[in-house]
Amino acid sequence: MLASATHRPAPIRDFVVSRVVSGLVSLVLITALVFVGTALLPGDTAGALLGQNATPAALEALRRDLGLDQPLVQRYLVWLAGALRGDFGTSLASGRAVSEVLLPRLANSLLLAGAGAVFLLPIAIGGGILAAIWQGSWFDRLIGFTSMLFLAMPAFLVGYILIYVFAVRLGWFPSMSVAPFAGGTRAWAQILTLPVISLVIIGQAHTMKLTRTAILSVLASDYVLMAEIKGISRRRIILRHALPNALSPILSISILTIAYLIVDVVVIEIVFSYPGLGKLMVDSVAYRDLTVVQACGLLFALVFITMNFLADLLAMLVNPRQRVPARGAAA
């Protein structure tokens, strides 16, 4: 942003550079926290690995093996170089490679979030579009009321209500995801159903609200008014004039929804004891398995930041007005 006064205006390039830099700063911040924190606090990784009965000689040897006798910055850079190749170090709790612990959990979480998105996006976006088209109708007010309700609820309340009704009372689904994971598609569907429904209920309110606002702003534009004045049917206005123009905000909203889904997954995995990345991270915080926490934090942040960046970039690319350099309006 600082340099934009001196060279030819190129808002998209500036935007990409600025966001990539700020994204990298965030990722360095979240990963460096663990290194700086462990350096400031008493005790170190070697002590944590060997426990209280370790001999000083063994501690010294392990410290050298782990590179703990190196300066902090150098250790961080070595870790960073490893992380770029997918090597996140060794889990303090299990002694296994972090990536080995992480990958199956990541796959499980992506499956859960992906399944959530498949149901959440059409329901929430469809609902938002209808609420906007029928603004002020009973449907719109119902949507407004349920959004208010679900936005105020803690995510685990939704999960436990579903468990109580469908797992405990009706017995249709297991209440915990501890069932055999090798049980094929049917077992997976059984395990995934309630967590996915929870994700849909938690996530839909926000997405629906955003979609409704986006559609309403399109419907309030001059060309829609013009079409109305010309006497074009409501149906045709919506299908031919409003929806094509609403596609890009809807696409952005969809990407944002997926970003939030990936965070919502953390609490839902705990509610259902679902063996995903979120549960791994929370469990690792309890054991103070810092290398695993660090890697999980990096992955969650990376996905979230990338999604947000893509959503904003897309909004910029499809909207010509945002591509024109805006003087002093950049933020």
Partner: protein
């Protein structure tokens, strides 16, 4: 319709705050005292039943309310203080200070709060102090985002410059001219942040990195009693519903306030 919602919200919030303040008087038992059979159902085991150790759920919820509301309020006050200070510092200093603060806040804000909190608490260890400070830092970034433009406007105003030249107290203009204009937006943001802080602390405690046993806030009570639900007990739902009631009532008040002062819908 909106007024009815407002009256309901303010009444609900008043009841919840009163319940928290009067917990020692209202609670039939001590929150730590096993008085019933474990998992005694409502009726036999007090109004809301008993938990896994036979402690009275109602008493534990009343005391849990104190933790939840107290922490949310403390976090919001600290965060507002830090956010406003940083915003004005950035606006007055401009240049590198502004850029540096802005970039750092951006960097913190672009990581999901719960993920950031988990990493920090894993490193620093979970205690009431680290918990409140971590939440306050994360929430301060959101206050900063709202206050920074306001601070920028204030600093850029001609009469601030004139006042400075005439040697008049800046404070007079701040409190007479600028803050009255900015106040509704800031108050609404404060309300939204309190509701959010309630969900935040509840979420952290539910995950086990919030208020530590034997003390328990509302989120911690849900965690403690989570297993009871698979045997058909509703006890974990009561504190969770309590959390929803707090956020609903705060949101209801904020909503009414926003419409009353017709604040632009830029608050998130």
């Amino acid at each position: 319709m909106r007024n009815a919602g407002f009256i309901l919200s303010i009444a609900g919030f008043a009841v919840l705050v009163a319940a928290a303040l009067l917990a020692p008087i209202l609670a039939p038992h001590l929150p730590s005292e096993p008085v019933y059979q474990p998992y005694a159902p409502p009726g036999i085991g007090g109004l809301l039943g008993a938990d896994s150790l036979g402690r009275d759920m109602l008493s534990r919820i009343l005391y849990g309310l104190r933790y939840t509301l107290g922490i949310a309020l403390l976090v919001s006050v600290l965060a507002a203080g830090a956010g406003v200070t940083l915003a004005f510092l950035a606006a007055f200093r401009r240049g590198w200070t502004d850029l540096l603060i802005g970039r750092l806040i951006d960097a913190v804000m672009s990581v999901p709060q719960i993920i950031f909190a988990l990493v920090v608490l894993a490193v620093a260890g979970v205690s009431l102090t680290t918990l409140v400070l971590t939440m306050a830092v994360l929430e301060a970034t959101l206050f900063y985002r709202v206050v920074r433009p306001v601070a920028g406007d204030i600093v850029a105003m001609d009469y601030v410059e004139v006042a400075r030249l005439r040697g008049e107290g800046l404070g007079w203009y701040l409190f007479r001219e600028i803050l009255p204009n900015a106040a509704p937006t800031l108050i609404a943001e404060f309300g939204i942040r309190i509701a959010y802080a309630v969900l935040f602390i509840s979420g952290l405690s539910f995950l086990g990195v919030g208020v530590q046993p034997p003390a328990a806030d509302l989120g911690g009570l849900v965690r403690e009693n989570a297993l009871a639900i698979s045997v058909g007990q509703l006890s974990p739902l009561a504190p969770a519903v309590c959390i929803a009631l707090i956020t609903l009532s705060v949101n209801g008040i904020v909503d009414w306030f926003i419409h009353k002062y017709s604040i632009r819908a830029e608050l998130g």
